[in-house]
């Protein structure tokens, strides 16, 4: 199976082969790895690669291609999409460029919704305020546009990655 991984804007082609149960052959670009794989606890992987032992947390929401990986306390946010699906997605994205689906960057409580559907918003304008653990975070519009829809409701708790609102580009 061939996947396209995107990490910090860098695209890597990854081939994954299960040589036998618990053993994988993985090719990253032009680098080959033989991986002894075990998942002793859900979402916690124990990998042995060339004699080196790694403990890896991998988290992915159901039906999401975004994987949160943690190794020795460092976090990696990686999108992994099957090659054919990725090509299709890139074609679609080119057709609907500019539409911004804003997702919650953290779990928290929607403290305030400052805009209404149909409202014109400027790039950088604060759309809503999220609060978690005594800290308030402003969610700003990445583009100038029109507010298409709002899923977030004041006083309602959201999880990380939950949709908040959609900003549509201004039609030509």
């Amino acid at each position: 199976m061939t996947y396209i991984a995107t990490y910090r804007g860098q695209i890597t082609k990854i081939q994954v082969q299960e040589s036998e149960a618990g053993n994988f052959r993985v090719t990253l670009g032009n680098r080959d790895y033989v991986v002894d794989f075990l998942e002793p606890q859900k979402n916690i992987l124990s990998l042995i690669i060339d004699g080196k032992s790694y403990e890896v947390d991998v988290d992915a929401a159901a039906n999401s291609d975004d994987f949160g990986v943690m190794i020795k306390g460092d976090h990696y946010e990686i999108e992994v999409v099957e090659e054919r699906k990725k090509k299709l997605a890139m074609k679609l994205a080119a057709g609907a460029s500019g539409r911004q689906d804003l997702k919650s960057p953290m779990a928290g409580n929607v403290r305030a919704v400052l805009v209404q559907v149909g409202e014109h918003v400027a790039a950088g304008q604060v759309l809503l305020i999220l609060e978690a653990m005594k800290m308030q975070n402003e969610i700003k519009s990445p583009i100038a546009g029109i507010l298409g829809s709002i899923t977030a409701r004041e006083g309602v708790t959201v999880s990380m990655g939950d949709p908040l609102c959609v900003v549509e580009p201004i039609p030509d």
Partner: protein, 500 residues
């Protein structure tokens, strides 16, 4: 001694206080909000009562309900921990009115030290050095301009009731004074319900160094060796150590004696901390404020002196005289504390509440973990993001540093992001090793470099994500084909339970 103590707090500090009570043979009562039913402090204390819904003001700050619980279970003392009601004079008075001992100082001390301008007046009378500036509040913009001219640039505009870095504005140009006045006033009003602001000189290359004091109800007050708390992000401490690399024996004594004078100005009779701002250039020290409670970072003082501050605070509240004099306090070795937060250090320290799916706690010699975590705990969104404090001791600073790096390496929290690896990078940095930092180190110097660091295990991360994607896709494909992942044929009869 007390018969039963209610701990009006949550998380790691509630557990710390419980441990002290336990060693003194005093049963404890925990309180919790609806969001904290599963919290560890509820499980370790002897009794536990819900005091209201998740928001703090309806639970951990709900004096009526907390006092009702206190009376119901017949406690004779309340330990407030830090934060919440710990510096609330009204709460202390209401405890007293019910015949319950508030484990903290007298209410006058809480009131006077709770306000920056009144505390400046009080300690100045005892000749404690102050940051040059005002001992009254500003009336208006014209008054602000007049004082700004008198003190000179650079300046700090501060909310009198402020704390935790809120309600502060640094001023480097005279024309910015009116705007800073307005901003600090509105922040003070928003955050602390008090719009009073004042001006003082801005101390360059500032270090934050504080002195723990301990007093009893018989007029004795002693000081402990200093704590260095300059490693901060957003004006909040993240790493503390004791002693400081810039304080020598003479300066230690001078700061300690100044701290005792400050405490004497309000007849201090409990555990408290006098915070100083120290110029990294001249090593002059100035009174900043006094915290009239047990401090988050109290364990590092315990580690280098062998004194259980939490226990001594309880004994002093019960009327015991201090069991030691100033001469009995000596300093052994070096201690460091890292505050482990549920925050993403690579994403502006955004909070990361969520479920802890795996936990491995460091151990070994001279390692202490003050924690409210357990595997399976869902860290709620409503409270402070501090999960635990990792504290180590070493016979020298170098040994404490290598021990802390070792302990941080052992500490594994799975399921949510934490600041553990960030701490390892700060402690491992050259500037930290040299002791060459001030309160701006993290925000202005460390973080820009840290954000651009190479990620050491990028390939392993990529292949892990790809393997998980592969396994998920394989499982899905088998589902669609009607087969089981283990290769057995799918049977509608089997899944409906008619065939065994």
């Amino acid at each position: 001694m007390f018969k039963k103590i209610l701990i009006a707090n949550r998380g790691e500090i509630a557990i710390r206080v419980h441990r002290a009570c336990c060693e003194l043979g005093i049963p404890t009562v925990a309180i919790f909000s609806e969001a904290d039913r599963a919290a560890l402090h509820v499980r370790v204390c002897d009794e536990a009562f819900c005091v209201g819904p998740a928001p703090s003001r309806k639970s951990y700050l709900n004096m009526d309900r907390i006092l009702e619980v206190a009376q119901q279970c017949g406690v004779d003392a309340i330990h407030p921990g830090y934060g919440f009601l710990s510096e609330n004079a009204e709460f202390a008075e209401r405890c007293a009115a019910l015949g319950i001992t508030f484990i903290g100082p007298n209410t006058k001390a809480i009131r006077v030290m709770g306000n920056k301008t009144t505390s400046r007046v009080a300690v100045a009378e005892m000749n404690v050095p102050l940051v040059p500036g005002m001992k009254e509040n500003l009336r208006d913009e014209a008054h602000a301009m007049e004082w700004a001219e008198r003190i000179g640039l650079p300046l700090m505009m501060k909310a009198a009731a402020g704390g935790g870095g809120k309600g502060m504005r640094m001023i480097t140009r005279m024309e910015d004074v009116p705007a800073a006045f307005r901003a600090a006033r509105s922040e003070g009003l928003d955050s602390f319900g008090d719009a009073s602001v004042y001006l003082e000189r801005y101390v360059e290359s500032p270090r934050h160094i504080e002195i723990q004091v301990l007093g009893d109800k018989h007029g004795n007050i002693i000081y402990f060796p200093e704590r260095e708390c300059s490693i901060q992000r957003r004006h909040q401490k993240v790493i503390e150590e004791a002693p400081s690399t810039i304080v020598d024996e003479d300066m230690r004594r001078a700061m300690g004696e100044a701290a005792v004078k400050a405490a004497r100005s309000v007849g201090y009779d409990s555990a408290g901390t006098v915070e100083f701002i120290v110029s990294g250039k001249t090593r002059e020290f100035f009174f900043l404020e006094m915290n009239t409670r047990l401090q988050v970072e109290h364990p590092i003082t315990e580690m280098i002196t062998g004194v259980d501050l939490c226990k001594e605070m309880i004994k002093s509240a019960a009327g015991d005289p201090l069991p030691f004099t100033q001469e009995d306090i000596s300093l052994y070795g070096h201690a460091i504390e890292c505050r482990i937060y549920a925050e993403d250090p690579d994403n502006n320290f955004l909070p990361t509440p969520g479920k802890i799916i795996g936990l491995r706690v460091p151990g070994g010699p001279w390692v202490r973990d003050e924690s409210g975590m357990y595997e399976g705990l869902d860290v709620p969104i409503h409270y402070d993001p501090m999960l635990s404090k990792l504290v180590v001791w070493g016979s020298t600073r170098e040994r404490a540093i290598t021990r802390m790096l070792r302990a941080l390496g052992e500490y594994a929290v799975k399921g949510i992001k934490t600041t553990i690896s960030f701490h390892a990078r700060v402690i491992g940095s050259e500037a930290f090793a040299k002791g060459d930092f001030d309160t701006h180190y993290i925000d202005n110097h460390f973080r820009p470099a840290d954000a651009a660091r190479p990620m050491p295990h990028e390939d392993v991360a990529l292949l892990s994500a790809a393997i998980q994607a592969y396994r998920r896709d394989k499982e899905r494909a088998q589902h669609l084909l009607g087969g089981h992942p283990d290769g057995q044929e799918h049977s509608a009869w089997k899944s409906s339970g008619r065939v065994r």
